[in-house]
């Protein structure tokens, strides 16, 4: 077996080491922490490229592109629990993406977090996150994946709450942790069920893994009490984990709040990698997801995949609608992420692994570009996040503006030259030809229109017109970052960010442009790489069947969305930060409704959380008065016994000897006193024991 396959574990372990070392380092060793994190990511990136090249090499030699390495961890009963890692095209693509984007964001963070006193801790968490995320990617065991998945959740919690002195950040981190945990519970149940059914959690293990034919067939043949097969049940449960992690409706509520974390965190964790882990999970267990009991043809879709599609489509539309009415630059991007994740899920549901994953990869690049751009804007505006108070940054921050525009056009899916166009088009095309329903296609198309609209709205607010920052300078916003930045820059005049921040932007921008060409219909390299099929160049495919109409209509949709955006926001520059939103004027109640994200949070607060609070109050009462009473009683009995025993031991048994010894040391007349002393009491017990034991044994031996 090849060296890289055997040593793939190095990829996650290197950042883990970096995290470990910087966790032990002193707070002041900032350079050490940053260089360790970036260095380890760079090494991991090189290893990932090597792994990627290895897969390419295998492919070009016509060998199987999937290689696994399993090892035994520990034994319980007669079963061995095995873990392992798998190198296949899916792993390779994700590895390269995560390490590359991660490395750039690490570098960017050096600039962004420069003035933060907990710089070292930040890099420690970031490296830990990267390690866990890479662990998720390479895991060949659902258990290993779940463990890394939980660490990812933990680091997300730690990083959202990084500025923990800010109550909103602390609350957001708790919300993120608990909400994703709600999804993880069914996920874990799914794992347990899967283990009970198939006896293994390894994905691939020479035919014995849980994603391989024998196991899948077995799962399909098992029927549950409510009618569908075990495979569907397990797949839906696992998908619940993905819903939580990837911010799908109805567990999306944590993701916008997660923007309380530092912006590089938003870019890395809550846009490019962690939230995509849910999509990746579905892609990883795709054989299970697509298993269905009917006649196995490509035309039927399994129940699980239908669920994935509908959840994805609803989320895509839902996120886009809400994003229209937000004012926080990062919250807009957050809802956009929710919406795009919905697209990916939908892509997985209607088109397969390659379709969803292609959008995941392109999205990772352009969304992290957008987030880093937003971070640069926030940095330049001294921590301001409200787009109403920005404006006119086109001239002041030229690099940021240029790269942000590229990212924005890629996100909108601007025709032909932007990666988002090709990946989104794939999804819409697959949705168009879906055999169950056309509704997801129309939902997706409408979401695309809204995407173009809200992004142009954001662009005009942030970069167009004149700067509105000065008029609100006395009303300083609340984040510690803002105080920090303002403090260090002295003036609040917007300014371009330092090179350490803009260079990663410029490095990401080409990818946002060019990645799309890896997966066009004419030359579907990416798709054939992931699905391991023959690659054919066929320019005719662009014009075939439904491809052309879909492409044209989505182009029109994008242009329409941008046009409406220009019509409402771009025609006349926005004059004042206090002026009501141009769109809001059309229908204020509706706009407020959207601005509050359909009041989903309030709904949850009024229903589930209230119920939970009541329940915890009851539990608390039971705990205090019923259970604790019982425990207290037992405790007091034991304590009483203890005092009694101690009393006997020290006063009855020991006191004689202690007295004797004290006088011994006082007078020195050791022997005489001991002779007359109380050692008997002490040894009498031993003699007594001897007699008791002997009598019992003799009596029972019946001699």
């Amino acid at each position: 077996m090849n060296w890289i396959v055997q040593n793939l574990w190095l990829v996650p372990v290197l950042p883990l080491l970096a995290a470990g070392i910087s966790a032990l380092a002193k707070r002041k060793s900032r350079t050490l922490a940053a260089s360790l994190a970036i260095g380890s990511m760079a090494f991991s990136f090189l290893l990932s490229v090597w792994a990627f090249a290895h897969v390419l090499w295998l492919r070009s030699n016509g060998q199987a592109t999937q290689q696994v390495f399993n090892f035994r961890w520990f034994q319980f009963g007669n079963d061995w629990l095995s873990l392992g890692w798998v190198l296949n095209p899916l792993t390779a693509v994700m590895l390269v993406m995560v390490t590359f984007v991660g490395m750039l964001i690490f570098i960017y963070s050096v600039g962004y977090m420069e003035h933060d006193e907990n710089f070292t801790r930040f890099f420690c968490f970031l490296a830990l996150f990267a390690s866990a995320m890479l662990g998720v990617v390479i895991a060949n065991s659902l258990l290993l994946l779940f463990m890394c998945w939980e660490i990812v959740g933990l680091t997300s919690y730690l990083l959202i709450g990084f500025w923990y002195e800010k109550p909103s950040a602390a609350a957001a981190s708790k919300k993120a942790f608990i909400t994703t945990r709600i999804g993880d519970l069914p996920f874990f149940l799914g794992i347990v069920w899967l283990y009970a059914q198939s006896g293994t959690l390894l994905f691939y293990n020479n035919g014995a893994g849980c994603l391989e034919h024998a196991s899948i067939n077995h799962l399909i043949s098992q029927t549950t009490a409510i009618g569908f097969c075990a495979a569907t049940g397990i797949a839906v449960l696992i998908f619940c984990g993905a819903i939580g992690k990837s911010g799908q409706f109805p567990l999306h509520v944590w993701l916008p709040d997660a923007m309380e974390g530092p912006t590089p965190v938003s870019a890395l964790i809550h846009a490019a990698t962690m939230v995509a882990a849910g999509v990746f999970l579905v892609a990883r267990v795709y054989p299970l997801m697509s298993a269905h009991a009917g006649i196995a043809t490509d035309l039927t879709t399994s129940t699980a995949l239908q669920a994935v599609t509908w959840v994805g489509a609803i989320t895509a539309l839902f996120g886009a609608v809400i994003a229209v009415a937000q004012f926080d630059i990062k919250r807009i991007l957050a809802y956009s992420t929710v919406s795009q994740l919905g697209y990916m899920m939908m892509g997985l549901g209607v088109g397969g692994v390659a379709v969803g994953m292609f959008h995941l990869i392109t999205h990772a690049f352009f969304k992290s570009l957008l987030f880093l751009g937003a971070g640069s804007v926030i940095h330049g505006c001294s921590g301001e996040q409200d787009i109403r108070r920005m404006g006119g940054l086109r001239k002041l921050m030229p690099f940021t503006f240029a790269t942000y525009t590229i990212g924005m056009l890629a996100l909108c899916g601007f025709p032909f030259f932007f990666s988002g166009f090709w990946s989104k088009d794939e999804i819409l095309h697959a949705a168009h030809s879906w055999n169950i329903s056309q509704a997801p296609y129309y939902m997706g198309a409408f979401a695309a229109l809204l995407t173009a609209f809200y992004m142009s709205r954001q662009m005009f607010y942030v970069f167009g017109g004149k700067s509105r920052l000065a008029e609100s300078s006395e009303d300083h916003s609340h984040s510690p970052a803002s105080a920090d930045h303002a403090h260090h820059h002295g003036s609040s005049a917007p300014h371009e960010s330092p090179l350490v921040m803009t260079v990663p932007l410029m490095l990401l921008a080409p990818f946002a442009l060019l990645l799309g060409f890896l997966g066009t219909a004419a030359w579907p390299w990416f798709q054939s790489f992931l699905d391991d099929t023959q690659l054919t160049v066929n320019f005719g495919a662009l014009l075939e069947g439904s491809m052309l109409p879909v492409m044209l209509s989505s182009s029109v949709i994008v242009l329409l969305g941008l046009g409406i955006g220009w019509w409402i926001f771009g025609r006349r520059p926005i004059k004042s930060a206090e002026a009501p939103d141009n769109l809001g004027r059309l229908s204020p109640p509706l706009f407020t409704f959207l601005g509050h994200a359909f009041y989903v949070d309030a709904l949850y607060g009024a229903t589930i959380i209230t119920l939970n609070t009541q329940f915890s109050k009851i539990s608390d009462w039971l705990d205090r008065w019923v259970w604790n009473g019982a425990v207290k009683t037992v405790t007091n009995i034991v304590l009483g016994l203890a005092h009694l025993d101690n009393f006997i031991d020290t006063h009855v048994v020991n006191s004689g000897f202690d007295e004797g010894c004290q006088s011994v040391s006082r007078s020195g007349q050791i022997l005489s006193l001991l002779q007359a002393g109380r050692i008997q009491g002490y040894l009498k017990i031993v003699a007594g024991v001897l007699i008791v034991f002997t009598i019992i044994l003799l009596w029972k031996a019946k001699i």
Binding site: Q662, V664, Y682, V686, L698, I703
Partner: protein, 498 residues
Amino acid sequence: MNVINYGQLLQLIWPEIILTVTALLVVAIDLLFFRNSRVRVRFLVAATIGSAGCVAAIIKLLLASAQGSLLDGILLSNPLTHLVQIALLVITSVTLFLSVDSTFTAHVSEFVLLLLLATTGMMFLVGSQDLLVIFISLELLSLSVYILAGFDKRSVRSSEAALKYFLFGGMSAAFMLFGFSLLYGFSNSTSLTRIASAIHGQPLNPILIIAIVTTVIGFGFKIAAAPFHFWAPDVYQGAPLPSTAFIASGSKVASFFIFFQVLVLGFAGAEGSASLLHFQSGWIPVLVVVAVISMLLGNVVAIVQTSLRRLLAYSAIAHAGYMLLAFVAHTQQSLASLLYYVATYALATLGVLGVLAVTEKQLGNDTIHDLAGLSRRAPFLSLCLAIFVLSLAGIPPLSGFFAKFLLFSALLAAGPGSKLLLWLVIFAIGMSAVSLFYYLRILKRVYVADPPAEAGEIESSLLLRVIVGLLAGGVVVLGCAPDLILTQILNAIHASGF
């Protein structure tokens, strides 16, 4: 009459010879060259030489041939004895380094000499299956340890402890020797295997019963099982800290091992049964009673202790109770779990005493109360202390948990369906729950309580921190990967044909 092969004798006792020579060397070098140096320097030199001797003995043991026996087990060597001897040597060198910072005596070389001689005694003890050698080496060990306990001549407590220890020890040695003599009279041999074959197949007679009870008393004293424990709290509290460490760890490991051998090999066929319906005289009923009393008394009395050292003593009594359960099962698996248990227990106890070595010096006493806020005054030591204490309490993933787990599962595996074993395990688990109370009280003091005002950071020497850190690392690693030594132990047990 067999003829002794002196070449073989030499081969077998090489490690012991190395240790004895090292002990003499330490005295010579210390008295010749370092008489006028500071105590710390003298301790450092003596400990280094002593440890070098231990390491040399370990190397010799690793290289020694796997099997060897002289005259029916008067001296023997097999993988199992090697393993236990190596553990003893490691413990001794840790103890040596723990003593480097102590100031209780100026007689450095004598102290180290006694420690090494006690170790030699333990090595012989472990490597023999003959009553006579067992008794003599036990006496070598005991006599050295009595002096070690009283080594702090200026302290009244130390003298008191030593005297108590000595008197009690002498008495139990007398009991044991009486038992041994009965055994000899009964079987005409001092070899454990021959005694066993003499016992085998015969009904229990009164002589044997008395021999059983006196043997249990003799060893019960060494392992501090109740009700032979009275010396323990005073000795733990009064003896100089390195002596306590040695008594609590090395001496325990050796005594448990040889006690198991004597009972299981020597009294094979006289096990008896302790279940109420099929009660049968033998050593198992005796041990069941001793184990239950030890667990109950040790855990319960530990709750009200205010001195950390006394608390350790009572917790040692409780742990002795758990470990005695392995005797009740007396299978290969239970021996393995016993060895794992006693080794990891020794590590954790050494660790707690190592931390105490620092705090006692700085705070002036060992009350739990004075540990308040230690986590802020010495974060690293507190972390290590937490690891040791939690391991003693049996919290996963530390080695203490795994030791208990192994022990209990060995017990259940030994007699599937046996109500007695099941109830013993349930009782032991209940008692460990009780023990959590006093262990956590220590940690509460360390982590939750506020340090006294104007309390500064607690200074500790680098050497001590390294040792304590290594011990903590050992506790964690052995807990996470118990296979590291468990497979060694199991292999050794199989290879030794126990």
